[in-house]
């Protein structure tokens, strides 16, 4: 197993109470692997306790990226959250910890 961090980089954005996290392949050839491994189910499980809503995945093959959109993820949103990281800016770092099956290359 390797950490997702070895294959992809990531950024979190916030709008209201919704957080989105991009997962972008460093190398184009790893994108199919990301699609197989980094599913919305796994992302939802990873953020159990943080994300109360749904996790929806969008695919952007032209830049080798996935975009995860997580609702009810920010304690009511940046303007009212009790959290230390009210924007959820640090969430991408948690995602990069995910374990991914070793590739064949």
């Amino acid at each position: 197993m390797v950490k997702l961090r070895e294959l992809a980089h990531s950024r979190t954005g916030d709008k209201g109470n919704t957080s989105n996290i991009s997962v972008i392949a460093y190398r184009e050839k790893d994108f199919p692997r990301l699609k197989t491994e980094v599913t919305s189910e796994r992302v939802k499980a990873l953020f159990a306790g943080v994300v109360e809503g749904e996790v929806k995945r969008y695919e952007l093959p032209s830049i080798g990226a996935l975009n995860f959109v997580m609702t009810n993820a920010l304690g009511g949103g940046v303007t009212r959250s009790l959290a230390v990281d009210a924007h959820g800016k640090s969430l991408s770092s948690a995602l990069l910890e995910m374990e991914i099956e070793e590739g064949t290359d």
Partner: protein, 459 residues
Amino acid sequence: MLRRFAPRNDGDTALRSIRIGSGAGYSGDRIEPAIELAEKGEIDYLVFECLGERTVALAQQARMKNPEAGYDPLLEERMRAVLPRCAAKGIKIVTNMGAANPIGAARRTAEIAKALGLSLKIAAVLGDDVLGACKDGDLPIMEFDGSIKQLGNRLLSANAYLGAEPIADALTRGADVVITGRASDPALFLAPMIHAFGWAMDDWNLLGQGTVAGHLLECAGQITGGYFADPPYKDVAGLARLGFPIGEVDEDGSLVITKVDGSGGAVTAQTCKEQLLYEVHDPTKYLQPDVTADFSQVSVEEIAPDRVRIRGGRGTRRPDTLKISVGYVDGYIGEGQISYAGPGALARGRLALEIVRERLKLTGVQSSELRFDLIGVDSLHGAEASARASEPYEVRVRVAGRTESLREAVRIGNEVETLFTNGPAAGGGAFKSARDVVAVASVLLPRDLAKPSVRFVEA
């Protein structure tokens, strides 16, 4: 009615092109990068995006106390820094620093220009304040079950995300500086393109590609290496003197993102990809006042060091509604923190949280929501993620709660502070705070109910 702006006629038959600099990504952003852009960026436009989700509501409160206030607190400092340089080079400025008082901000800017001996045309964009229309319609709130009416007297403000049209209009009428309140962030950048190239307001693909440009530029340093560095995987040199981005846009929508030579940071395919998806949900439907932009076919290509070409932005018809940011009073938040270190720090931190939890019950502190964190352990990603980590050398206890009154909020911090003499051994650095909360929610308003206009002001 969709209109067409006459293209700027400079007698040149070659593809027209403009360079737009992004001078701020949020209200408190660094000021020198904007000066650097004005001096060395060879830009035609300098845009400052300074208005967060909640800022207008806070500014509205400030304006209620003082009718002259309600615009960005750094307006004066930014304008003093860039006006002389922009005037000398003919660089036009577009900004949303007007917040809750664009006219006030425009007047202040005109005074500053006059004091600096500059003759500039300053315009304010009005009409984003739609509180009346929202109250009449009793619109449903998007984030939770409820409506505008149910907010009652807690409702503070309602501001529409205006589009590029009034800004482009002001530029076409000769404005050197255009100051808006709430406007869509990408629209601040799209407006100069519409003005300079005469793009039709129903050329959805061009507006979509222009929105891609605006979206990439609006957070300033976030596309030149800020919010990106992660050594040793993603190294960025010179973050202390980070250069802010420049978008080179041609009239056919061609786009290159770059920055001033010699400034810190980097523009790479990676920085551009991260920013492309920042705060984006469905990439095929990025809803804007002027267009429904489609980012899903965008491609990025490094064509030279710190030069990235962006292609493939598209668009479809604009939405029939405008997004409205609604500010409302949302009670109070009380908070307390204290630190423990050395052997057994984690156990003492956990004990401290237990004590405060029990004290808040015993003393009957009324709160609708409470949060217990160990900073350094579980405050960012929750208990599950932290269970995998090893024990830290130090932890910081944090308790935060939502209350109906300031008095109750103060009691939360007090129960953490009293751990000094009543809690676990060797607790240090206690801190407490209590504050009122202005929260923001959204509603959708039929677009005809917002009536944007442009007003020029004199010093």
